[in-house]
């Protein structure tokens, strides 16, 4: 049989692209790569933790995986594969497929899978998750990230009051790396800041301690910064960096070590910024958790904490809060384990408590996990749609099989009669 010749001319490229992106071959290739990156990502997670594995293998366009720790292997990342699978399914399973009633089930189930993929992207791009920790009597509308840190610089008054902050975001800091350096211009302020080496996990070590011999960088105010390997649990990382504040005329320079441990480890603590002067004006700088607000305030009225008799292990803990809108108490709510508060797109779960070393009778804080995911329920809807589609498909197949079996029986009877 003679093979039809393919037209490779540019005017035929859209058709070729359509053919390529809607092909079964591409779907098979994407699924094969997905299997590979899932396997490699799972192995990577064992040594580097969940967040690092997600970032490297699944939230990336390309991955350089070191096979057996030696051979670099370039693979498409999760983002590329998901995008290709989405395009492939839209073109191949929705647009290209022949529309007939027998294929209705598969059409519906593929739509469900597309909804699942779209939900995954919406979660990646738009969801937020953080925590809010409050002692009884405290109120807040600010949610803090578990693992993202940022550098904040504030002009302060003589009595150390600040009104505005200039924020260098996490992504920019992590891009610097441990050995890099980057200067940031602070719009409207008479200074620039150079961040020299961003360590995801670090501790300041006094120069008098033997450990300081292993620390990197310059000693400032009797301390050096010791870089540690990032923790497998990303929320346990305590980043640090060297910072240089420079007046824009280049005449003044202030150096320091910024360390996230100066922020706070407990809801009741106040952050301890680095204070400095440039051009006769006072400034404060610190590494703080990335934070954002919810459109209402939460006041913790009472935290109920019960221990198992004779041991310090928690038996039950729950929070009684008042939701405050526009400064006025709106509603009293109880937040318990498995009984979160859902309001205005945000879900407050009773997550934990502290301080970790609290003894019976000590004042304790309550910590809520605060999640906001516009596609929270999409996986459920996607599974319903996919399940419905598959049910229709299997029923069509079943009826087809029964009717074929009947026809065959009738034909056999006719044969035996004749």
């Amino acid at each position: 049989m003679a093979k039809s010749k393919i037209d490779w001319s540019p005017k035929n490229w859209p058709r070729l692209l359509f053919k390529l992106f809607s092909s079964y071959g591409l779907a098979a290739l994407v699924l094969l790569f997905m299997t590979l990156i899932t396997l490699f990502g799972t192995y990577y997670q064992v040594d580097h933790g969940l967040v690092a594995a997600k970032r490297k293998y699944f939230h990336s366009f390309f991955v350089v995986h070191e096979l057996f720790g030696k051979v670099p292997l370039i693979l498409p990342g999760g983002m590329t594969l998901m995008a290709m699978l989405f395009v492939n399914m839209v073109l191949g399973a929705i647009i290209k497929v022949r529309k007939r009633w027998r294929g209705a089930g598969l059409l519906i189930s593929h739509s469900g899978i597309l909804m699942l993929l779209a939900g995954g992207y919406v979660t990646y791009a738009f969801s937020t998750d953080g925590y809010m920790a409050l002692y009884p009597g405290m109120k807040s509308n600010r949610v803090e990230s578990y693992r993202d840190w940022q550098v904040e610089i504030m002009p302060v008054t003589a009595d150390h009051k600040a009104e505005k902050m200039w924020v260098i975001p996490t992504a920019s800091l992590e891009g610097i790396g441990e050995n890099g350096s980057r200067t940031f211009t602070l719009p409207g302020l008479p200074l620039d800041v150079a961040i020299k080496g961003w360590a995801r996990n670090a501790s300041p070590i006094p120069v008098s301690a033997p450990m300081s011999a292993q620390a990197r960088g310059k000693a400032i105010d009797g301390f050096k910064l010791f870089t540690q390997p990032p923790s497998k649990k990303a929320e346990q990382n305590v980043p640090g960096c060297h910072a240089e504040f420079l007046s824009q005329d280049g005449k003044e320079k202030v150096e320091t070590i910024l360390w996230s441990g100066s922020y706070r480890f407990d809801a009741g603590e106040k952050p301890m910024p680095f204070l400095f002067e440039i051009g006769g004006k006072k400034f404060a700088a610190l590494i703080a958790k990335k934070s954002w607000t919810v459109p209402f305030e939460v006041r913790l009225d009472k935290f109920i904490f019960e221990r198992h008799p004779g041991v310090s292990m928690a038996r039950n803990y729950e929070s009684r809060i008042t939701r405050i809108e526009k400064g006025e108490p709106d509603k009293a709510v109880e937040i318990k384990m498995n009984e979160p508060m859902r309001y205005e797109g945000y879900t407050f779960f009773q997550e934990s408590y502290g301080p970790a070393d609290a003894r019976p009778g000590d004042r304790m804080y309550s910590q809520f996990a605060v999640a906001n995911n516009p596609s929270d329920q999409w996986p459920l809807y996607a599974l319903i749609v996919t399940g419905f589609g598959l049910a229709i498909h299997f029923l069509i197949k079943l009826f087809g099989f029964i009717s074929r079996a009947r026809r065959s029986q009738v034909a056999q009877r006719k044969d035996s009669v004749s």
């Binding site: 600040a162 891009g175 301690a209 292993q214 301390f223």
Partner: protein
């Protein structure tokens, strides 16, 4: 076939290029502070900013008094000096400083560092290096025995060898190092006993007594 593959790669190239072009992050943003965010603690110095406040409780109590504790209105260390041990003044790095043996050739002290003090792995291997022992892997360090220190589970390090100390002086032969490391984000605590092996062997129960007596005075 090769022609097909190369054409497919050519057609995919723009997609790969577009997907690899990351959006430039808008670096510095400005926002007002909420009232709760305007409340800072102004640290007196860098040490306080790094939560590094050593308290030489031994020297503040005149030495040799047990149980001793510094009463500066903030949490301080409480402990019992084991019988036969001697308390000597602390130093910048040593919150508690004890010696034992005829000529005080055995020593046991407690130090603290800010943050995790460089982490458990680095510190265990630093101690091992002082004793001329090879470093351990993270898995081996995780498998080291534990002992309770300040109501927490601390890692026990027990190495025998030639003690080179911290200053790179001539190694002291047949020494034993017995130490505990407690490492958290908020701070690291080290209890370290060193001395001639036979002397340390005969003082392990005193070491245990000392460790068990360690606590924090909140008043």
């Amino acid at each position: 076939m090769i022609h097909r593959i190369s054409t497919a790669a050519f057609l995919l190239a723009p997609l790969i290029f577009i997907s690899s072009c990351r959006k430039k992050v808008n670096d510095v943003t400005v926002r007002p502070l909420s009232p709760a965010e305007q409340d800072f603690k102004i640290p007196k110095n860098t040490a306080e900013r790094f939560r590094y406040t050593t308290r030489s409780s031994a020297s503040q109590n005149g030495g040799g008094k047990s149980p001793s504790a510094a009463s500066q209105g903030s949490p301080s260390l409480a402990y019992k000096t084991p019988r036969g041990w001697k308390e000597i003044p602390g130093s910048a790095m040593r919150d508690i400083n004890l010696t034992f043996g005829k000529n005080g050739e055995g020593e046991c002290y407690l130090t603290r560092l800010p943050g995790s003090g460089g982490g458990l792995l680095a510190n265990v291997n630093r101690w091992r290096k002082q004793m001329g022992a090879p470093p351990l892997s993270a898995e081996e360090v995780a498998a080291l025995p534990k002992k309770t220190l300040f109501h927490q589970s601390a890692t026990l390090v027990d190495v025998t060898g030639n003690f080179g100390g911290m200053g790179g002086a001539d190694a002291k032969k047949n020494y034993r190092l017995l130490g505990l490391i407690l490492s958290f984000d908020t701070g690291a605590i080290f209890v370290k006993m060193t001395g001639p092996k036979a002397l340390v062997d005969s003082n392990t129960s005193q070491f245990d007594q000392f460790v068990a007596s360690l606590d924090v005075n909140h008043k």
